[in-house]
């Protein structure tokens, strides 16, 4: 009865996951979408630039020894009046190279954004799986907490957490703690949508027969949730994670702009924008404009990528 098998003998080798991925409809849809390709390229370049900032940046803006106050307020692409040095994107009041500060700032922004989304994701997936699979009171409590959380704007929640954390940390640690507090604050304001989506998908999956088959074997709830249900609820999570990343980067920038985020010693894009806006009316527009453009490009590309991902993974949502 071997003729029932659909495969011919020469194809005995199992197709690797990579091969399967390249041949998939998903990859095909990617190749067909110019928007997806462009935004993916932009995001990749920006992420690489952020990671390798110390290698790429022409100056180290945080090394006080290399700073020359004479270079302050250099215009972009114009030789400085005193030192004749040329800075692509100009310098700020202390002579720091704007291009370099943007690279380092992007590093902080991306790190905070990614870590916050990761935190929100782990929290949201765990609670969502638990709520969907266990049902009953567990579900009621988790989802009511989520509902309450949703009634507050994310920024407000983040500011609240930030404020509390600031109150309880000693002054000398504040700058070091700031980044981590930022991550937790943004993460906590963002887990709800992960939990909701995962709970919804879990409710669908847990009634499917493969889950019943696993229960029948005597698999425990933990194994069923992690090994059976989790892999099948991840695709919507991926979409939300991407779009959340854009939102988290903006949230971080907003908090930093309001002065409750990344400290000036570790400036993120938001911090740079806050600093830059002070010079706008005195004519030094580049200190504000270039960080702002970078933030816009980054958030927009990630968002477009997320939109495409949603369409590709879930055609019915279009």
């Amino acid at each position: 009865m071997a003729e029932l098998s659909s495969q011919t003998p020469e194809k005995v080798v199992e197709r690797s996951r990579l091969r399967v991925a390249i041949d998939s409809d998903f990859a095909w849809q990617f190749r067909k979408s110019p928007v997806a390709i462009v935004s993916a390229v932009v995001v990749t370049i920006m992420v690489l630039a952020a990671i390798f900032a110390p290698l790429i940046a022409p100056y180290d803006p945080f090394d006080p020894g290399s700073l020359n106050l004479m270079n302050g307020f250099s215009r972009p692409m114009t030789p400085n009046a005193f030192t004749q040095e040329v800075f692509w994107l100009g310098t700020d009041d202390q002579g720091r190279d704007v291009f370099s500060t943007i690279l380092y700032g992007m590093r902080i922004s991306l790190f905070v954004g990614a870590a916050a989304v990761l935190f929100a994701m782990v929290l949201g997936i765990t609670l969502g799986l638990l709520a969907g699979y266990a049902g009953g009171w567990t579900e009621t409590i988790i989802m009511r907490v989520a509902d309450v959380q949703l009634t507050f704007p994310a920024i407000l929640v983040a500011m609240l957490i930030f404020g509390i954390a600031k109150g309880i940390t000693p002054v000398e640690y504040r700058d070091q703690m700031a980044i981590w507090v930022l991550i937790i604050a943004i993460g906590l304001s963002d887990w709800v949508q992960f939990a909701r989506v995962v709970r919804g998908a879990t409710l669908v999956e847990k009634n499917k027969e493969y889950v019943q088959a696993a229960r029948l074997i005597g698999r425990g709830s933990g194994a069923i949730m992690l090994r059976h249900i989790l892999p099948n609820v991840l695709s919507p999570v991926l979409v939300i994670a991407t779009i959340s990343l854009a939102l988290a980067i903006i949230a971080e920038a907003t908090l930093s702009f309001l002065g409750v985020g990344a400290p000036p010693t570790q400036p993120s894009l938001g911090t740079l924008i806050r600093i830059g806006q002070g010079f706008l009316f005195s004519g030094e527009w580049w200190i504000l404009l270039f960080p702002a453009l970078t933030l816009l490009t980054l958030a927009l590309s990630v968002n477009l990528l997320g939109d495409w991902l949603r369409d590709a993974l879930n055609p019915r949502l279009r």
Partner: protein, 326 residues
């Protein structure tokens, strides 16, 4: 033979995909006469529903009619635009689908749905339409029709809902009804009721019915003639008794053999090896040849030639003769 209500000639439906063009319906021809039930039978992927959807202009893009013609009451309809097709649907062609809920608007009383449909297609007054709505519900066997016109679809059971859909399909007095798996979602006892209803309407009103189903039992019970489809092509067509009891095409014979029958007892079922091929990997020649016990070299080179026998025809290189022993 009387002038056919529906006449399909060499109908071909194509779906362009990244892997090439798929042909779910490939050169299919058949007629349905007034008052006749034509059963279209086949397994999943045979293209039977796709052919029905092509007739009523409900192909989901990118699927489209790529060739052949569809003639309803002497009028060619495969070239019609969306608006003209919409007018034709309901007026000349009624539809009954597997899931009655998709054919009914959940927010409208069923009486209103019936009246609206009639007013759109017939030249009658609203009062008359309302009277006819009650009559239509009574005709399809809904008890207390006069009161039930004011009910919403969810207030009916599955079988009653399917009756409402049939009333809706019939109310504009179309000459053709396309019923796509109308009883598949229903229980056996309700299925028997719906089949009896369809047959009675067909006989009383002279409506032609295209009955699409995978169930040989339903075909045997309801159809006058049957078209057996395989992988988008017509394998065999003819009067139901001859096709089912003395098939020419080995596929029809195989289908009949694999159906458990009371008279066969607990013997091993005859089985056709393999499964219906996927559209993107159709075997060349006769698509059935890899599963066919009678296949020879020429079966893989060209599709089976059409042989005719009385009112029947089959597409096969090595047809079974009427005595029907394989």
């Amino acid at each position: 033979m009387k002038e056919a209500v529906l006449s399909i000639r060499d109908l071909t439906v194509e779906i362009p995909t990244r892997h090439g063009i798929l042909r779910p319906v490939d050169g299919v021809s058949y007629d349905i006469a007034p008052g006749e039930v034509l059963g279209v039978v086949g397994e999943s992927g045979a293209g039977k529903s796709m052919a029905g959807n092509a007739v009523i202009g409900l192909l989901t893009p990118p699927a489209h009619i790529a060739g052949g013609e569809i003639v309803v009451n002497g009028q060619r309809i495969d070239q019609l635009t969306g608006e003209a097709m919409r007018r034709l649907r309901g007026k000349q062609i009624g539809m009954v689908f597997q899931d009655p809920l998709t054919s009914l608007n959940p927010l409208l009383r069923i009486g209103d749905q019936l009246t609206e449909t009639m007013l759109a297609h017939l030249d009658i007054s609203r009062t008359e339409a309302e009277e006819r709505a009650v009559a239509a519900l009574a005709e399809v066997g809904i008890p207390g029709a006069a009161e039930r016109v004011n009910s919403y679809p969810h207030e009916f059971s599955g079988g009653m809902r399917q009756r409402v859909v049939i009333a809706l399909a019939l109310c504009a007095e179309p000459s053709l009804i396309i019923a796509d798996e109308p009883t598949t979602a229903l229980d056996v006892s309700v299925q028997a009721q719906i089949i009896a209803l369809l047959k009675r309407l067909c006989r009383d009103r002279g409506t032609a019915i295209m009955l699409i189903t995978h169930d040989m039992g339903v075909i045997a019970e309801a159809a006058d003639r049957v078209a057996v489809m395989y992988a988008g092509r017509l394998a065999e067509l003819g009067p139901v008794r001859e096709v089912l009891m003395q098939p020419h095409h080995p596929y029809t014979a195989g289908l009949m053999g694999s159906t458990p029958l009371a008279s066969r007892g607990k013997d091993r079922l005859h089985q056709i090896p393999g499964a219906m091929p996927r559209l993107d990997s159709l075997p060349g020649g006769c698509a059935f040849h890899p599963r066919c016990p009678r296949a020879a070299a020429r079966c893989s080179s060209a599709p089976g030639p059409l042989i005719t026998d009385g009112d029947g025809r089959a597409a096969c290189w090595f047809p079974l003769d009427r005595e029907g022993v394989a």
